[in-house]
Symmetry: C2
Subunit: 354 residues, 2 copies
């Protein structure tokens, strides 16, 4: 008869490759069940988007076979409990991820929306906050023009904004509260006060990840968000163009400043090349080549991936269906990989901070 | 013998098509010279970029031939004296033109730089002020990274910033005063104070046009610039993408607000389509088609032109040579036409305000 101790001993030889400790020490093995020759246990990963999920499951099976008995019937339930930034959380939000770019128009909103969808596809409870106060794109990208969030009364009597839900994501945008045809000529203090409300006065519920689509630049909103809320990390979006890279460097510089100090999760290169639909082998490097990759190398942050310039991506956003909801699209796969890398980086960062 | 009166009488039948008055009433005929059968005069246009220059010259010759004598030798000197916004001018700057976009990354800086160069090519004294405080592109676009403007002592003892000069333009950018690798995490009041200095504390000299590359959005800088300085008009840049158009509408709305009230000179559609160099007949409407044109129609403002998405334009900007300095490039012709239309709109607006 197999014992619980034998199972834990075997699994103590399985290392979590990112966190560099074994699964037992990391307290990732739970609910061990033994029925004769049939054993079962849960592996609690730090994120459902773990890119090493299959690798870890395989290593567990090997360890049981090697250290106990290769004839055991092993049932492994790969699950997750997303770890968040320790200490001050915004009411139930485990990880706030900023998607930022020095320069506007590099596809930041496209990356933010599709990253959020990809995290959701991987099984994480995810929200998307469009903090681009002067140019909110979320209402158009999710086909929610004219939609208005309702309100909800909390147990303590406080009334909060109820985020909208679509494609499984909780969604809020400053665009839901303003007339799309009217400008928002607000000075700094008004914008920062509006942003704080979208974080604090909304009923986000329990979220593993809240992806925040930041405005371009390094202005009032960045300073306020970075200094007011516990940000888990930032993703930098750039095109390969020199003028975009120059601004991305400034964005990176801001997150690295002592007074801000937000971990960089990596760089996404958007509009990497253009491929006409009828010439799938042609890659036109309209904005230059590998600029984002070089930027990531220079600042020693992970390169999360490149997204081509495709008419489909622009159309998808304009038509209210971000591309990552279409699982057949090859670009969706790129976003899933980016989501895995982002989640992986967060797990690594949190485990080092412990 | 021909008399001055005969010449003025003949030219009083020539109408300035934009200003809807005759050249004599508009005081556009100067320096009439008569030597036997040889007459000469200056036509003082309202801008050297007048798109009707040839048309007006031709009409003058016809009028002289028709009303006086078709055998006269007529020498016409087509010149110009740019008219500016009446009243408060910023020290010698006749027309301040804002180049703006709701959304970032639509090519606003490319349009601003090439519009300024095209106005210069047409013979106007032109400056370019890069007011995009969080993402200044001018230093890279003009190959002036690391360059520092000097200072100049004015007759009254005041010391002013001396704009740099390249390709015939007077140039200033916030980027000349900051470290390109450092972010500018400034809140609103700091940014507006910096911008005011670039207008007021610089020795711009006499300029027909100062083109201002505005930051994206509708924030502090827009409010300050619009309300502090006498702005002649604004050019809106957009891509055909729905999410860009939505922001462009907001930008237009801001300029039309009672408290701002800046004339719209027109809409430029950038990244209208992509054409691979080796497939010059292929047009890929990556971001959709004719969005800028429809926007202009909807708001009843002139459509100034469309600029394709070409690798050459991006490369040119990245390499310090805006495309409009290359007179062989077909895109240069587009920018020259845009410059003419902008100058034309300004002349019409000023003549109506008189």
């Amino acid at each position: 008869m197999v014992t619980k101790e034998q199972i834990l001993n075997a699994l103590s030889y399985v290392e979590e490759p990112d966190l560099k400790k074994d699964l037992v020490t990391l307290n990732m093995i739970q609910n061990i069940g033994i029925e004769g020759e049939k054993i079962s246990f849960d592996v609690i990963l730090t994120t459902p988007a773990c890119p090493l999920k299959d690798h870890i499951e395989h290593a567990c099976r090997n360890a049981i076979a090697h250290f106990i008995d290769k004839n055991l019937e092993v049932q492994i339930n790969m699950t997750s409990n997303v770890i968040g930034k320790q200490g001050a959380q915004v009411s139930g939000i485990k990880n706030i991820i900023l998607v930022s770019s020095g320069k506007g128009g590099v596809g930041k909103s496209t990356v933010a929306a599709n990253l959020a969808l990809a995290l959701h596809t991987k099984g994480a409870k995810t929200g998307l906050l469009d903090a681009d106060i002067y140019g909110p794109s979320l209402p158009i990208m999710f086909g929610l023009e004219g939609a208005k969030p309702g309100s909800v009364e909390m147990p303590d009597g406080q009334v909060k904004i109820e985020p909208l839900e679509k494609f499984g994501l909780k969604l809020l945008s400053i665009g839901f509260f303003t007339d799309p045809n009217q400008p928002i000529p607000w000075r700094g203090p008004m914008t920062t006060s509006a942003i704080k409300q979208l974080f604090n006065d909304a009923h986000w519920g329990e979220l593993d990840y809240l992806v925040v689509d930041m405005p371009p630049g390094t202005g009032d909103i960045h300073i306020t968000v970075s200094q007011t809320f516990p940000i888990a990390g930032a993703v930098i979006v750039t095109t390969p163009q020199q003028v975009a890279l120059a601004d991305a460097v400034k964005g990176i510089g801001m997150f690295l400043m002592d007074s801000i100090n937000i971990p960089l999760l990596g760089v996404v290169e958007n509009m990497a090349y253009f491929t006409p639909a009828e010439l799938p082998d042609n890659k036109y490097y309209i904005f230059g080549k590998d600029g984002g990759k070089r930027l990531a190398e220079e600042y020693k942050v992970p390169f999360l991936g490149e997204i081509p310039l495709l008419k489909g991506i622009s159309d998808a956003g304009d038509n209210g269906f971000p591309i990552a909801i279409d699982n057949e699209d090859p670009v969706t796969k790129s976003f899933l990989t980016i989501a895995e890398k982002v989640a992986q980086q967060l797990s690594i960062i949190h485990s080092q901070l412990k």
